[in-house]
């Protein structure tokens, strides 16, 4: 009887351990992490031509997260790397199409060399980017796309950042997430439940793991001069983001992100503010090698 009680208790205790997201206020887990991203964006206006511009992009990226304090390169000494964590990012695939009022344009493939990093960053002990550099083509693309890394304080989006442990039912706000157009968004996260998912890693044996499902909502306000429709423009767009995120509670790895940003407002075109509806659908899947999480 006692054995049953102890077994039941340990079972519930183990459930509780897995049903909690650990704090990750600092360095990231060491390893190679891989993910696929699809981002589809549509700009609609009735004011002037073109009335509809849409992009459909797919990329597969890898992050090589090194042990804190370690960096192997020709210009940095180990002493200089002390207290910092080095992460190198690269892509194995990037391509997509754009349509302008129904006319398709191939967005090409900027990958020049699969063997080297596209960009790299040093993070401090809070997991915030403090130094970064990279190949010009990617740095330009990230700067023009308002993407992360190129501003101090941005965190690595392969992992969920949280200063405190999170349990089912917890609701909190964070500014970790950012997308083309939006920069950092303040979002409300709700730890809804634990779910079982299978990880995709191109291997035949795919273990099932328990992940935390977080619902994410927020208001999005994009005001000022930002890169929209391939050049710097004055914009005034407001709307919402809704998404869900799957997080591995053991290492805070984000395995899945699916969300939609809907914005309404004005973009300056031909010297005047014109009404626009903007929709951005973001889909992200982890494709980690199995040795990372086994």
């Amino acid at each position: 009887m006692k054995t049953i009680f102890i077994s039941t208790l340990s079972f519930f205790l183990s459930l509780n351990i897995f049903a909690q997201i650990k704090p990750m206020p600092g360095f990231y887990p060491e390893g190679v992490f891989k993910r696929e991203q699809r981002i589809k964006t549509t700009y609609l206006t009735t004011a002037s031509k073109p009335n509809e511009i849409s992009t459909n992009m797919r990329s597969v990226g890898k992050a090589y997260v090194l042990k804190p304090g370690y960096r192997q390169d020709e210009t940095t000494t180990q002493a200089e790397q002390k207290g910092k964590q080095h992460v190198e990012f690269t892509f194995t695939e990037i391509f997509g199409v754009k349509t302008v009022d129904g006319n398709p344009i191939d967005l090409g493939n900027p990958i020049e060399d699969f063997t080297v990093y596209a960009y790299r960053a040093n993070y401090n002990s809070k997991g915030e980017a403090i130094e970064w550099d990279g190949k010009k083509i990617y740095m330009d693309a990230m700067e023009n796309g308002n993407l992360q890394i190129l501003d101090p304080g941005y965190q690595c989006t392969y992992f969920l950042h949280t200063d405190l442990p999170r349990n089912i039912g917890d609701v909190w706000t964070d500014t970790q997430f950012c997308f083309p157009l939006t920069k950092k968004i303040s979002t409300q996260l709700t730890f809804e439940k634990m779910e079982k998912i299978k990880i995709e890693n191109n291997e035949k044996t795919l273990p099932e793991i328990d992940v935390a499902r977080l619902n994410l909502t927020g208001n999005v306000n994009v005001n000022g001069i930002v890169t929209a429709l391939n050049s710097n423009k004055m914009v005034n767009l407001n709307g919402t983001i809704t998404a869900f995120v799957h997080v591995d509670p053991r290492n805070n790895r984000i395995h899945r992100f699916k969300g939609e940003i809907k914005l309404k407002g004005e973009i300056m075109m031909n010297g005047k503010m014109e009404p626009y509806d903007v929709t951005m659908k973001v889909n992200e899947w982890s494709m980690d090698p199995s040795n990372v999480w086994k």
Binding site: N56, R58, F95, G96, V97, P104, K198, K204, L206
Partner: protein, 262 residues
């Protein structure tokens, strides 16, 4: 005098040779002809279903006859008859023969105008639907017959140009390169970036596909008519299929050959 004649002959030869190498836009009705074609496709579809990898290998030969008829008044009819479909599908190691459904299909008939533009399409609805869902596109009203290369200006060896096609949510952007001439035919290399988005009703369940990928290969073109004699290529598509809120990762790797047969 000898030198002048030689130079003139050389000029004629060079001109003739150069003219033979060109691809030029064709206008008007399509040349009246009846050709038999065979299309061979080997497609390997990899899907992740509930964490398990499922592989489906389709090996198919499709025989068809394209009959471009005499123009009547200002229109021309092109019929495409599927004579035989044979092959097999292997799912998780189990092979099944593809039943030959060609006899149940009525021919597809395209009616084109005197500029070669398709005005109407008729034929077996299920066949048209299957063609629409195929990754290499389908026939479209207001477009030209895809068995002929559609170019807007003269192309010489070394030239590269872009062509694109949108069919609903499916987009194909192709870069052609005129590589060389072989036996009087033009050999083109092509690379296509494609998005494939479709909704298929499978026994009452809507299956939404959302794929992105590349197709590349070579084409052999009759420079006199721009008729595509043969195409060899491969397709690599990646993406997701959604059904009943379940998302299935899909990878399709396919090689194909489509050519005239005697």
């Amino acid at each position: 005098m000898k030198k002048t004649i030689f130079s003139f002959l050389a000029f004629i030869l060079v001109c003739g040779f150069t003219l033979g190498q060109n691809l030029s836009p064709k206008k008007g009705f399509y040349p009246i002809q009846k050709t038999k074609r065979k299309m061979t496709q080997l497609a390997k579809n990899k899907m992740m279903m509930q964490g398990q990898e499922m592989t489906m290998v389709t090996n198919m030969d499709m025989y068809s006859t394209i009959n471009i008829q005499n123009p009547v008044s200002d229109s021309q009819k092109i019929s495409i008859t599927f004579n035989k479909i044979e092959g097999d599908i292997e799912v998780m190691g189990k092979k099944q023969t593809i039943p030959d459904a060609s006899k149940t299909f009525t021919p597809i008939v395209l009616t084109t105008n005197n500029s070669g533009v398709i005005n109407s399409i008729s034929g077996s609805p299920e066949l048209l639907k299957q063609m629409e869902q195929s990754y290499s596109g389908s026939f479209q009203v207001s477009k030209t017959f895809t068995q002929f290369l559609n170019i807007k200006s003269i192309k010489n060896i070394g030239d590269s140009w872009l062509d694109s096609n949108i069919d609903g949510a499916n987009i194909m952007i192709t870069q052609y390169t005129f590589d060389r001439n072989e036996n009087g035919n033009a050999i083109l290399n092509f690379t296509t970036t494609m998005t494939v988005q479709s909704d298929m009703n499978q026994n009452g369940i809507i299956v939404h596909s959302d794929l992105l990928g590349k197709m590349s290969g070579t084409m052999n073109i009759d420079t006199k008519t721009n008729y595509i004699i043969s195409t060899n290529g491969n397709i690599n598509l990646e993406g997701r299929m959604e059904m009943n809120t379940q998302e299935i990762p899909v990878n399709i790797i396919s090689t194909f050959n489509d050519s005239i047969i005697k």
